[in-house]
Amino acid sequence: MSPSPDLLIAFLAMGLVTYVCRAAGFFAMGWVRLTPRVEAWLQAIPLAVVVAILAPAAASGRPPELLGILAAFIARQLSGNDFAGVGAGVAAVAVARYLLA
């Protein structure tokens, strides 16, 4: 069965807004001269985004989250592998939530 036209229009509009978010930053930077300072800005975005995602979870002060972040850091450092860090972090949170709940 096929969804109603209303539904299809809603999904298309939602998809369009999402795609514009994905493409517009790249598009707009086409008008900016990539001077060394602009390149320094762009290069610094990944670490800043990562820290921005982390910081509120770390600042929440909830023990499972703090343990999870710590476990992810340590596992990543010891293994040199990003996904070992992810696995250790999620496992630590799940176990800590179960034990502390």
């Binding site: 069965m1 939602m14 499972p64």
Partner: protein
């Protein structure tokens, strides 16, 4: 602006991107599962749930959309919520400019449809490591897309037997990924002040505003601090 050398865009690059994201894609299936369950509960049939996942391809935005879903569809509220959830992509797309400007437009704009947090972060790691194959992003993105659609299908089918995803620590996945990536992306003491600026602004905005605006705020504050402190090389 001087025209720059083109960069490669190969099948091998796409495969490398897909391989690098495998473990994360496995968890995206679980995230898709959660979405499928919620979509079923919100009264969307399987075709509708799959269609939303195929057209929007944005997990957190779709889950928020379901929370305000109603009959008749509150389209304006939905679109504002989706924009709020995805505004961080503006900054992420901007960061790809020096790299993707060297691809043809169809490749660059086609790849951007598949840009998510995880494959973007990994692609930026590739770029920082000096690897230039532009297909890396879309390779990871296609793997995530397949995982997202597969998860949506499974979740909708299996329905309510699954339970709340928070209990499995899944909501923590992106945070754990970022903790790992922070170690990979850290370049040295010059990154300290941008890090402090990003963390402080993210915590403040997270406290003040609902939704993920804190990611955009922290990303902007941290990266602009880095640009401001940048010493031009004579």
């Amino acid at each position: 602006m001087a025209r720059r050398d083109p960069v490669p865009f190969t099948l091998a690059g796409a495969r490398a991107g897909a391989r690098a994201i495998t473990a994360f894609a496995a968890s995206t299936v679980l995230y898709g599962l959660a979405f499928g369950v919620l979509a079923d509960q919100a009264g969307l049939d399987l075709t509708a749930a799959l269609m939303m996942s195929a057209l929007v391809n944005s997990g957190s935005a779709q889950i928020v959309a379901l929370q305000i879903w109603a009959e008749p569809i509150p389209l304006v509220a939905l679109l504002i919520a989706i924009f709020g959830m995805n505004a961080r992509y503006l900054l992420m797309g901007a960061a790809l400019r020096p790299w993707f400007a060297r691809l043809s437009r169809p490749r660059a704009y086609g790849s951007l449809f598949f840009m998510g947090d995880a494959n973007w972060l990994q692609a930026m790691g590739e770029w920082a490591a000096g690897r230039r194959d532009g297909a890396f992003l879309v390779g990871g993105g296609l793997a995530l897309y397949a995982a997202w659609l597969g998860g949506t299908l499974l979740g909708h089918r299996l329905g309510r037997a699954i339970g709340a995803p928070e209990a499995w620590g899944l909501d923590f996945l992106l945070v754990a990924f970022c903790a790992s990536m922070a170690v990979s992306l850290w370049r040295g003491r010059g990154d300290l002040w941008p890090l402090v600026a990003a963390a402080a602004s993210a915590i403040a905005v997270h406290w003040a505003l609902p939704g993920p605006w804190y990611i955009l705020a922290g990303g902007l504050a941290g990266s602009l601090t880095a640009a401001w402190r940048h010493e031009p090389v004579a």
